[in-house]
């Protein structure tokens, strides 16, 4: 965020300003303000509606609101982290292939397909997850449990239907990969040609050139892309609701039938039959998700800002 000081230049002629300029400036400013108003409106709604749940003495939730939301927060974070861990390296690899390895024609086709993948509605990924991926992983989950069961993540007992946190993480990864790829690809393409050529001229191999010139330049892009993806993974609703077998436990065991639900998934499941205070409780959990997403985005901003000076872009 830089503030530019307007220096008084008395000699400069007053810039010509037509009606179109004023309309455009006004509408652009209006759009900017509108975003803030919408955000403030959403936050106000969430706060106002969740207040009854926060102040409630425990008639609906004997164990308290925090005890209800905590496992959901845990599930939300775990599923999003799995998705990010799987998707980011893959997305960076795909983006590098498109920007620096693939022949031009193939690269164009691939970019097009990646963009197309980003446009697939999440419910479709959810249906794919429950119809294809989950049943297909049953044997793999058993294998994981048999040979890697000593790792707490794969403690089992393995689910016989495959509707586990691990599978949800994979579905989310597939869902967010195109976004990360698209952002990373654009940034990689903008890596300064001079840097790349300089690296090659110094005798670097192609991989070394990418490591020296492209990746440092693209780091902020990778992070922004990953954060965009993380935002989508955190808020993903329907795919989680239909795929995950969520029973409200807190566990790092990723392959059993008992998993923590996510906030958004829980809202989707419980809202249709909710009434009275239950609605307020669900909205309170929504408020928590809102805050988490906000924090994630602020963190991403912070990282990007901090890295900017070293990115090589200047």
């Amino acid at each position: 965020m830089t503030t530019t000081e307007v220096k008084p230049e008395p000699k400069a002629a007053k810039p010509v300003e037509q009606l179109g300029d004023r309309i455009f400036a006004g509408s652009a400013k209006g759009a900017g303000i509108l975003i803030l108003v919408v955000l403030a409106g959403v936050a106000a709604f969430l706060l106002a509606e969740s207040l009854p749940a926060i102040t409630d003495s425990g008639s609906e939730l004997p164990e308290g609101l925090t005890a209800y939301i905590a496992p959901l927060v845990f599930g939300t974070v775990v599923s999003a982290v799995i998705a990010l861990v799987i998707a980011t390296p893959l997305a960076v690899a795909v983006a590098l292939f498109i920007s620096h390895y693939a022949p031009r024609r193939l690269a164009q086709t691939l970019s097009y397909i990646v963009d197309l993948l980003a446009a697939v509605p999440s419910i479709v990924y959810g249906l794919w997850g429950i119809g294809v991926l989950a049943p297909a992983t049953v044997g793999f989950l058993e294998w994981l449990n048999t040979y890697l069961g000593w790792i707490p993540l794969f403690a089992g007992p393995p689910s016989v239907t495959g509707r586990t946190m691990l599978v949800v993480g994979v579905v989310l990864a597939v869902m967010i990969m195109p976004i990360i790829t698209a952002v990373a690809r654009e940034v990689f393409l903008q890596a300064p040609k001079l840097h790349e050529e300089a690296a090659l001229a110094l005798g670097a191999t192609r991989w070394e050139m990418i490591r020296l010139a492209v990746l440092p330049f693209g780091r902020s892009g990778i992070i922004s892309g990953a954060m965009l993806g993380l935002g989508r993974a955190l808020g993903e609703t329907m795919a989680v609701a239909i795929v995950l077998s969520g029973t409200g436990v807190v566990t790092f065991n990723l392959i059993s039938s008992e998993n923590p639900l996510t906030i958004a998934g829980n809202i989707a499941l419980q809202f249709p039959e909710a009434s009275g205070l239950t609605v307020n409780i669900l909205i309170a959990s929504g408020l928590v998700l809102f805050v988490i997403t906000l924090l994630v985005n602020m963190l991403a901003r912070y990282i990007v800002e901090r890295r900017r000076d070293f990115s090589g872009a200047n």
């Binding site: 429950i130 989950a134 049943p135 049953v138 007992p157 689910s159 016989v160 239907t161 495959g162 509707r163 609701a241 239909i242 995950l244 077998s245 969520g246 029973t247 409200g248 436990v249 039938s257 008992e258 639900l261 499941l269 419980q270 249709p272 039959e273 909710a274 009434s275 009275g276 239950t278």
Partner: protein, 367 residues
Amino acid sequence: MKTKRRAPRARLAAIGVATSCALFVAGCGAANEGGGGGADSGISGTISGAGASSQQAAMQAWIAGFTGANSGATVNYDPVGSGGGRTQFIQGGQIAFAGSDAYLKDEQLAQARQRCGGQVIEVPNYISPIAAVYKLDGVQNLNLSPATIAGLFKGDIKTWNDPKVAADNPGVALPATTVTPVHRSDESGTTENFTDFMNKAAPSVWTAEGDGEWPVPGGEAAQGTSGVVGAVGQGNGTIGYADASQAGQLSKANLKLGDQNVAPTAEAAAKILEESKRVEGQGPTSFAFDLNRTSTGGAYPIVLASYLIACPQYPDQAQADTVKAFLSYVVSEQGQQAAAQAAGSAPLSAALRGQITPVIDQIKVGG
């Protein structure tokens, strides 16, 4: 739209032409109205209801049948859930009737009476058997006693060749497959009735009371009836519960009650209301039942009984007429058959219908 012609059966005089020809959608125009019950002719009101989503498929069939026969009438139903339906009904306003998987209790009953200015009408209009569905390779036609079902769903019985399962199924070769119980991840009346059944019929095993949200930890969770059926079908050694009509390809367990094995059929489910006691203190216009979960007389006790809640009097003539005609149609033989075809529910018995109809006929305008 179902236009299949059915042989007219013994119709109750009180049910108007509008209702009796509800299935004869094609052949029953406005010109035919006015030949029967009198009060139903020229129904032209708009009424809105809200409540249980369990009834929704049946409700769509009823609305189609009713408005097909009464082209001037409009009925809306918002499947907001039982709790929401009851709340909206109590608040009055636009909601003329509510659908609910549970009858009104205590405070809500008092509030509803206040809204109606007297008694409240509660009629069971949708009775659906809930089947314990399972997938176990090589095994079909399992018989399970209530205690065994409770043990399977609670996680006490861990493998299918457990002595308790074997005791219910003499002579059946049971594999040592692990049991994976599947329950609903969303709140539902199906869960409430299923857990209530286990609590009443096997109290020593299932100690938690009936609850719309699955009350015990463990097991696998899936969204909606379709989700449970899908999850059970995908696995092996899985057992879940679902409306019997939605079970699809899955095996449905027979309930071992005493020395009888009762299949989850519509007929056996309809019988359960005859064996159940009316709830006392609900007033003469309420047909709320405490379902007899421990039946041994050949009835199937795991049923979801959903109610229509309405007032005996409405301030508006058109509204009163429409509610009366619509409710009459819903509980009529034609209406119940339409629901049975659309949603696989169990039609009300003629005896019960005979008791309910006079109460609905009393719906009138008043203050």
